[in-house]
């Protein structure tokens, strides 16, 4: 009886012995058959190979939240993961990140739960209501509004994957989601009381989406945090930094607070065409507020213009009619303002009858693709990395000049985690002669956010050691690279800032992939 072993998988496990303070790894060969879960593999080791291996486990059905570990850099529940589904012969098993290791795979979950207890995990109503001997009525429709958020099993995966939790003030995705679960519960009357514990720290969320991506119960934490943001914006109880960003966009239609008339100043030495004068072009280049107004990031836009010209592709921009895409604004919770921006841009796209839109920023790309009303307009939009990787493959561009750099590519969250564009930026970099590409330890889906999303690029106020960008640059430095390549203007801003904070400007540079490609042409 039983199923035959399909293969032998080698598990390398990160160990920590608290008695000696020693970190080390142990490797074990585990027979795996169809149906073997990662937890069963760990138990096989403990039962048969090494009785000292230490990990938590209990329900073995994905509901108690005990057994979360990192597997090849990604956090998951060991009991809810089939080893064969991982499609690897070697697995690196590590304790959850961002949490103190007690022993082997056991981490200290106290800080996670202490933060959860900062919110009220029960219904708040006037005391008299609770004296009623019957249930509070709730329609199935009202239940549906928060049901999905009740599925959180408090496994702390989101907390461990979250870049904002390196600042201990941040309550973390699970707590903020739990808070919104109660706010959205038609029975609850907690009102503004519920907003207090998060008002001063929720803005540290970068909307990188790691929480949602790795949640074993598919809880939409990132969106719940946006909903929390919206409530705070509504009350006006928001930090001045956030208020300033929103007011700039409200007044000037861009978060930089610069007059729209300067929108094409970046291209004043270039011979480019703009809408509405130009009514037809191969592509519509949506430039992004950062690459048009930020002096440093204009270089990215210029590189794009140069490369497009080399390719012989005709392009135009919306010129002064390009308004902020609104991605940061939406994720800061100002949904009304976002809709206004979106309505304008969609109307411009319609008037131009844009057949193909290319964006410089993953944020514009993401919101055009994913967020209503943009998504309803079914725009044909690509990020520039997709567009140019294709062109290189077809031989339309030929990067010939050597780019003698050792480069680590940092996956921007809105390109990678949110849109699974991992390969094209790397394909471009690999096509550059002389360039040596190295992978970050935390890469692709496990990439560690630069800390710039959801407006944090403009609202940053954390101590330098607690800024995700500083953490990330340190990681790149440990790889011995001289350049961090990114494909997002906001990553350029935050990471360059971290380079300055760490005072390593002589050691490492931050470049957009476009700038590196430009060097090769």
């Amino acid at each position: 009886m039983g199923v035959e072993t399909e293969k032998i998988v080698e598990l390398t496990i990160s160990r920590f012995d608290p008695e000696t303070g020693k970190h080390y790894t142990s490797s074990y060969k585990v027979p795996v058959r169809k149906g073997t879960t990662l937890l069963e593999a760990l138990m096989y080791i403990k039962d048969n190979l090494d009785g000292t291996l230490t990990f938590r486990h209990s329900c073995r059905m994905g509901i108690c939240g005990s057994c979360a570990v990192n597997v090849n850099g990604k956090p998951m529940l060991a009991c809810y993961t089939q080893v064969l589904d991982l499609k690897e012969n070697r697995l690196l098993i590590e304790p959850l990140s961002n949490m103190r290791v007690i022993k082997d795979l056991v981490v200290d979950i106290d800080p996670f739960f202490e933060k959860l207890m900062k919110i009220k995990n029960y219904l708040v109503k006037p005391e008299a209501e609770f004296q009623k001997p019957h249930e509070f009525l709730q329609s199935p429709e009202d239940l549906k509004k928060f049901w999905d958020l009740t599925l959180c099993i408090k496994c702390s995966i989101c907390y461990s994957a979250c870049p904002a939790t390196i600042d201990e003030r941040f309550l973390g995705p699970a707590s903020l989601t739990a808070n919104y679960r109660f706010i959205a519960d038609s029975r609850d009357q907690g009102g503004s009381e519920r907003l207090k514990p998060m008002a001063d720290n929720i803005w540290l969320c970068t909307q990188c989406n790691s929480c949602t991506l790795f949640c074993p119960k598919l809880v939409g934490c990132a969106n719940a945090i946006v909903d929390d943001h919206s409530l705070l914006v509504e009350t006006g109880d928001i930090p001045k930094t956030v208020k300033d960003v929103l007011e700039s966009v409200y007044k000037y239609h861009n978060p930089m607070g610069t007059n729209q008339s300067k929108r094409v100043d970046w291209a004043k030495d270039l011979n480019i065409t703009v809408f509405p004068e130009t009514k037809k072009a191969d592509i519509l280049l949506f430039t992004c507020c950062s690459t048009t107004y930020d002096a440093r990031n204009m270089e990215i836009a210029k590189a794009m213009a140069f490369i497009l010209a080399k390719m012989g592709v005709s392009f135009t921009t919306l010129g002064t009619e390009e308004w902020c895409c609104g991605d940061h604004i939406l994720r800061l919770g100002e949904k009304g303002l976002f809709e206004e921006l979106a309505a304008h841009n969609i109307e411009m796209f319609r008037q131009f009858s844009a057949e193909k839109i290319v964006t410089l920023s993953p944020h514009c790309y993401n919101t055009f693709k994913k967020d209503k009303p943009y998504s309803d307009a079914k725009l044909n939009v690509v990020h520039y990395t997709q567009f140019l990787a294709e062109a290189i493959k077809k031989g339309i561009i030929n990067p010939a000049k050597p780019v003698n750099r050792k480069v680590a590519y940092h996956d921007p969250c809105f390109l990678g985690k949110r849109n699974e564009v991992y390969d094209q930026p790397r394909e471009i970099l690999r096509s550059l002669p002389g360039l040596q590409l190295v992978e970050m330890k935390r890469t692709r889906q496990s990439s560690f956010c630069c800390g710039g999303g959801a407006g944090r690029v403009w609202t940053e106020e954390a101590e330098s050691e607690k800024r995700p960008c500083v953490d990330r640059v340190k990681e790149a430095l440990s790889l011995g690279v001289d350049t961090i390549a990114v494909a997002c203007p906001f990553c350029v801003t935050t990471l360059e800032d971290a380079v300055k904070v760490l005072d390593v400007e002589g050691k490492i540079a931050v470049k957009d992939v476009l700038e590196l490609l430009r060097e090769a042409i």
Binding site: P18, K34, G35, R56, G62, K103, K120, P140, F182
Partner: protein, 565 residues
């Protein structure tokens, strides 16, 4: 040994334990209450409860109907005064959890919805989709954490109860993080540590639910009642044994054999798949034994067919079941049948306690699955266990609190503490030839082969001998992990020690009961025998093994009748 003192200590933080803590805190804000649990409260096995919680809330239903269903389901071994008390208390517990935030599934009118469940003649299972226990737990945990006079000791493993002249005075527990054994002194202690079905190989139980509290109470002199009555749930997912809720059949799921036949028509023509669990599990086992099981890589099985319910209903009412079947069974219930067979699921027996959750030891209370009040008699109805945890969790907390307000602390005997310290250190130091996991697996195999759904005197005797051999071998185990901090090797050894004790009690209790009643089915004694066996078994600890006594069953309204479905 460092000593910590509280007025009330609740051991275990599942539904019963957390409910007890809240109830105690409600009695007086002056009481110093501790909740001690070997894992984080939200990791407790109660989160695995799926289908629902029974309560009479519909005017067309009645307390008497719920009580009678329970008594009949129990094959008349339940104490009827306890049953009558229980059914009356259950509805207000549902309201309380609702008030704390439990997201109960709703009717179109906005009231708490109810579904059908096996052995209940009215659809009275309140449910939160198919994650009822999970949602109740999270609601009560949130509430319990709001009391400033409840202190939580998460990841503290209790090893023994300390008694003195018929009263409980404290306990010992290991703080997992440091590995240090501490003494706790208390006026009242509530045991709420869950069942012991991890003694079986194929079980719905969480890995960590190993019956520790039952064994601790037993060793402290409290009798374990009706331990021969182990419930086998009809639908354990193959190969893991993970629970597939009875709610799946409550929503209309079929059980089908290899001939594609809904075989329940031959065993319970009226109730079909919704007959009580003992009846359905026996039917499945018979189908398998007579060669009508489907054949799979893990041996014969029965098919649970939900396909006719449709994707929408499955997603709305049984979302966890679909996810679990996909992730752990490799089948999508929308398109395929779910392979299942009976799995050890619940202990009707446990620490003897009365209607006020008092054990025979003064100051010691028990509630939830570790207790035997006796509410479930020889067979528990589905959804009565979460209801019991709430109702008697509250009773135990309240009674323990009242006792603590009236009683004083008693001295912890230094001698007893040192003896316990020596016992634990000796186990930790063991370097013998026996692997803990091998002994554990042997125990579980023996229980599966010889103390399963159908039992026979000679097999029980053989099983008892084998379990006793394993108990002897336990002294030769090896605890490989010699560290202090978070020593799960020592934890496994201590748990195995408890489980071997409970396996022995289970078999010793089953052996003399020469009748078939509820979940205890003797092929050598296929009939119920009210003349000789309408009585509770009480197993007392002695160093030579359990000594049995018997106690009468309380009958109030419902004299025993033939039990058909």
């Amino acid at each position: 040994m460092e000593k910590l003192t509280h007025d009330v200590i609740v051991v275990g933080a599942g539904l019963a334990g957390l409910r007890a803590a809240v109830a105690a805190a409600e009695v007086s804000s002056k009481l110093d209450i501790a909740v001690l649990t070997k894992h984080h409260p939200l990791r407790s096995h109660s989160v695995c409860a799926q289908g629902g919680t029974a309560a009479v809330t519909n005017p067309k239903d009645s307390f008497d109907l719920h009580a009678f269903d329970t008594v009949k389901g129990a094959d008349y071994l339940a104490d009827q005064d306890v049953v009558e008390f229980f059914v009356k208390k259950a509805p207000s517990e549902i309201v309380l959890t609702e008030h704390w935030g439990c997201p109960w599934s709703r009717t179109p009118e906005g009231k708490i919805d109810q579904r059908a469940f096996g052995g209940h003649t009215f659809p009275r299972a309140c449910f939160a989709a198919d994650m009822t226990g999970f949602h109740e737990m999270h609601a009560i945990y949130g509430k319990a954490k709001s009391y400033s006079n409840i202190k939580f000791y998460d990841e503290w493993f209790a090893t023994s109860l300390i008694t003195d002249q018929g009263a409980v005075v404290g306990l010992t527990a290991i703080e997992m993080k440091t590995g240090i054994l501490h003494a706790f002194q208390a006026k009242s202690i509530v045991m709420a540590t869950g069942g012991h079905e991890r003694i079986y190989e194929f079980t719905t139980f969480s890995h960590t639910t190993t019956g520790d509290g039952m064994a601790m109470a037993y060793r402290a002199g409290v009798p374990l009642e009706d331990m021969e009555f182990v419930q086998f749930h009809p639908t354990g997912l193959i190969p893991s044994g993970v629970l597939i809720t009875e709610g799946a059949r409550g929503e209309g799921g079929y059980l089908v054999n290899a001939n594609g036949e809904r075989f329940m028509k031959r065993y319970a023509a009226e109730k079909m798949e919704l007959a009580p669990r003992d009846v359905v599990s026996r039917a499945e086992q018979t189908e398998i034994l007579e060669g009508r099981g489907l054949q799979g890589p893990y041996g014969p099985y029965i098919a649970l067919d939900l396909r006719h319910l449709g994707e929408e209903k499955i997603n709305e009412r049984l979302p966890l079941i679909r996810d679990v079947a996909l992730k752990l069974g490799g089948v999508d219930p929308v398109k395929e049948v779910i392979p299942i067979r009976p799995a050890a699921h619940y202990s009707m027996g446990g620490i003897k306690a009365n209607i006020r959750a008092e054990t025979p030891v003064l100051g010691l209370y028990a509630s939830g699955e570790c207790s035997c009040l006796s509410l479930h008699g020889a067979n528990r109805l589905g959804t009565n266990s979460t209801a019991e945890c709430l109702v008697f969790g509250a009773v135990s907390g309240e009674e323990a609190a009242k006792h603590a307000l009236a009683a004083g602390l008693r001295e912890l005997s230094q001698e007893k503490l040192l003896a316990e310290e020596a016992r634990v250190s000796a186990i930790a130091a063991r370097n013998g030839d026996e692997r803990i996991s091998v002994l554990r697996d042997k125990m579980r195999r023996i229980m599966n082969e010889k103390v399963w759904i159908y039992r026979r005197g000679d097999q029980l005797e053989a099983g008892l001998k084998e379990i006793r051999d394993l108990k002897k071998k336990f002294v030769d185990i090896s605890v490989e992990d010699k560290g202090k901090q978070f020593n799960t090797g020592l934890l496994n050894a201590l748990q195995l020690d408890f489980m071997l004790e409970l396996a022995e009690v289970t078999i010793v209790s089953a052996l003399p009961r020469n009748e078939s009643r509820g979940a205890h089915s003797r092929v050598d004694y296929p009939k119920r025998d009210d003349q000789n066996w309408l009585k509770h078994t009480l197993a007392y600890y002695t160093k030579d093994g359990p000594r049995l006594e018997y106690a009468p069953v309380t009958i109030t309204k419902w004299p025993p009748m033939a039990r058909t479905y």
